[in-house]
């Protein structure tokens, strides 16, 4: 294992923020895994930390294929992590909206630039991602459906052995993310979503670690024995049904992620916040699996409460 500082930035009042990369093997830049870009992506950092620990032992056992290398960057935003803030400490900008970065630009543009220059040439890129919606997800792997994506890359979604592989049609705000810019640069880029963001789930951490190791094995970067995981159902993000609330109040949940529901089943109640009566029942529009569940107790009108993956594509 080689430990490098791949980018460093100074603050007037704090010790320098060093972004550290851990490299296993040597030769071709085969795969890069990036963890936390935001200060609350604790689960994402923990997944990478466990990958570093695991790959260290695997490398010592000679499991990294000769001529291949993997770099893990557990955290690229130590400053925000250390003060419990999601976005950049000073100006609240999002590093994951600054790619490909600019070396003469603002601070987060420079961080994105320094990071991207160190990782853009890898054959494969995996970002441990979090989503802008508050909620818990079933673990899944996602890629942007761009002109740069290739059909064989879509099929590689199955190599992670996660239950779902999603294709996302990019929105304008996606064009400044790491995943999108990796693809523009020719890297085969994936975003791996684990269940949580700001706390560490033991099971979901292990699921993400295993999925990443499985991918490295499938791509001939790692030689090791690991069960194949689950069958991956690949679908467009648009085919997942979003269930919203038409009223506001307190959420009383009836289901959790992974539950199988039938059309009409009650997913949650919305309870009046001052008077305690149920004012709305949110039901499933389709037979399927609960893929996402909003995790805040108080909900506004129009909040995305659940996502349901239909059993049938029809």
């Amino acid at each position: 294992m080689v430990k490098d500082i791949i980018y460093s930035i100074k603050s007037p009042y704090r010790q320098s923020m060093d972004i550290v990369g851990y490299t296993f093997g040597s030769g071709e830049r085969s795969c890069c895994v990036v963890g936390a870009l935001r200060g609350n992506e604790i689960q994402q950092m923990a997944i990478c930390a466990q990958l570093v620990d695991t790959l260290k032992r695997l490398e010592e056992s000679g499991c990294v294929i000769s001529g291949k290398s993997v770099m893990i960057i557990p955290c690229a935003n130590n400053y925000s992590m250390n003060i419990g803030k999601r976005f950049w400490t000073m100006d609240n900008t999002d590093i994951n909206r600054m790619f490909p970065g600019y070396d003469q630009g603002e601070t987060t543009q420079r961080i994105a630039d320094g990071l991207f220059k160190a990782i853009r040439d890898y054959v494969h890129g995996i970002q441990m991602a979090s989503f802008y919606r508050d909620g818990d997800f079933l673990p899944h792997i996602k890629m942007m459906d761009t002109d740069y994506g290739k059909i064989e890359t879509y099929e590689s979604l199955s190599d992670f052995g996660l239950p779902y592989g999603l294709l996302r049609t990019p929105h304008p705000y996606d064009t400044t993310t790491l995943n999108y810019n990796w693809q523009v640069w020719g890297c085969r880029a994936y975003s791996l979503f684990s269940t949580y963001t700001d706390h560490i789930g033991k099971k979901s951490t292990q699921t993400a670690v295993n999925a990443t190791l499985r991918f490295l094995i499938a791509k001939g970067i790692l030689k090791w024995t690991l069960h194949r995981g689950m069958h991956t159902r690949i679908l467009n993000e648009e085919s997942i049904r979003t269930v919203k609330t038409g009223c506001a109040g307190m959420q009383k949940k009836h289901v959790t992620i992974g539950d199988e529901v039938a059309e009409g089943d009650i997913l949650c109640e919305i309870v009046h916040p001052l008077e305690g009566n149920t004012i709305s029942l949110i039901t499933s529009p389709v037979d399927g699996t609960v893929f996402f569940a909003h995790n805040k107790q108080l909900v506004m009108e129009h909040t995305d409460m659940f996502s349901i993956v239909p059993f049938s594509n029809v």
């Binding site: 999002d94 003469q104 603002e106 420079r110 508050d134 304008p172 001052l274 009108e301």
Partner: protein, 314 residues
């Protein structure tokens, strides 16, 4: 007449409401039957537009007999943000000015964006007022993307600003309010002026004169208005960016809005622990110092100033 533009329930005994003030006179002295919208408060920390809206509403209401057509004033597209000194839409990760045109089936912020666009649709013109952020002070300026220059520049020249900056297009900006409206045929000018969380009365008065001048040029206003000036017009290659390379506290040495010459000191960055000057920023060209840092603490990369280079004759 005060009208709701977007209404949604919040969890505890309150509605989210975006309002507009419609001032109209369809039997005015002119023949115009046009509609102009003045929009601000998309970012909750930008307050310069609040004063412009307040003054404009008062002038037009008191002088309604001099008005022909409709002026719709939207002081707060992000009312929760303004009310809580929050730049973004509270409890929503994305910048509100990156989610237009919104969606009727999206989250609260996306539905609100959709409602605003739906309400403005069909207007003849829109003026979208911003005020930088808390970090930078800007002279009154209109920003126009290159693709819209042909149909917007003539109107930008009427707004009594100091500068019109014609900038390159970027995919991420396709989700702004202004881009969305321009693509839908509503000629929309983006004004930047002043600094976040403050009101600069002289700049507001300057823009107010410009808005009245624009209304006069459109045949909608026969009342009095101040003198208007011809702005400088600049493209990206005429704009010099000065970013800090060191961290510390920035002390300006040049006056915002003044003309500087090549090599003039724009400011210094001090180490607060030792008092040492860690960086002195010199003007790379002669021109108008139209942006100057307001917030003293800087990191490497922090934007300190922007200069619009003098146009060379011959």
């Amino acid at each position: 007449m005060i009208k709701p533009v977007s209404v949604a329930a919040l969890p505890v005994a309150e509605n989210f409401v975006i309002q507009k003030n419609r001032i109209e006179n369809n039997a005015g002295p002119g023949t115009a039957s046009k509609r102009v919208c003045v929009v601000t408060g998309t970012h909750g920390d930008e307050l310069e537009g609040q004063y412009v809206c307040a003054r404009l509403a008062k002038i037009l209401s008191d002088g309604k007999h001099k008005l022909s057509g409709i002026v719709d004033i939207y002081p707060a597209v992000n009312p929760l943000g303004i009310d809580s000194v929050t730049r973004g839409f509270p409890m929503f990760d994305l910048d509100m000015n990156r989610i237009f045109p919104g969606s009727s089936s999206g989250s609260l912020a996306e539905v609100a964006a959709h409602d605003v666009i739906r309400d403005i649709d069909g207007a003849d013109m829109c003026i979208d007022i911003h005020s930088s952020n808390i970090f930078l002070r800007e002279v009154p300026q209109v920003r126009v993307s290159e693709q819209n220059e042909s149909f917007l520049l003539q109107y930008a020249m009427m707004l009594n600003v100091d500068l019109v900056w014609i900038h390159a297009s970027a995919t991420v900006l396709e989700a702004t309010l202004a881009h969305t409206l321009n693509m839908r045929g509503v000629k929309t000018l983006v004004v930047e002026m002043g600094v976040g969380m403050r009101i600069t009365e002289s700049y507001c008065s300057q823009l107010l004169d410009g808005i009245l001048n624009l209304l006069r040029e459109l045949g909608m206003w026969s009342g009095a208005g101040g003198q208007t000036r011809a702005p400088l017009v600049s493209k990206d290659h005429n704009v010099g960016f000065l970013n800090s390379d060191a961290g510390g506290i920035f002390i300006p040495r040049a006056v915002h809005g003044s003309h500087v010459n090549t090599g003039d000191s724009v400011g210094i960055v001090l180490d607060p622990l030792t008092g040492a000057i860690v960086e002195e920023t010199l003007a790379p060209c002669s021109g108008l110092l139209f942006t100057l840092r307001e917030y003293p603490v800087v990191f490497g990369g922090s934007l300190l100033a922007r200069i619009m280079e003098d146009v060379k004759n011959g």
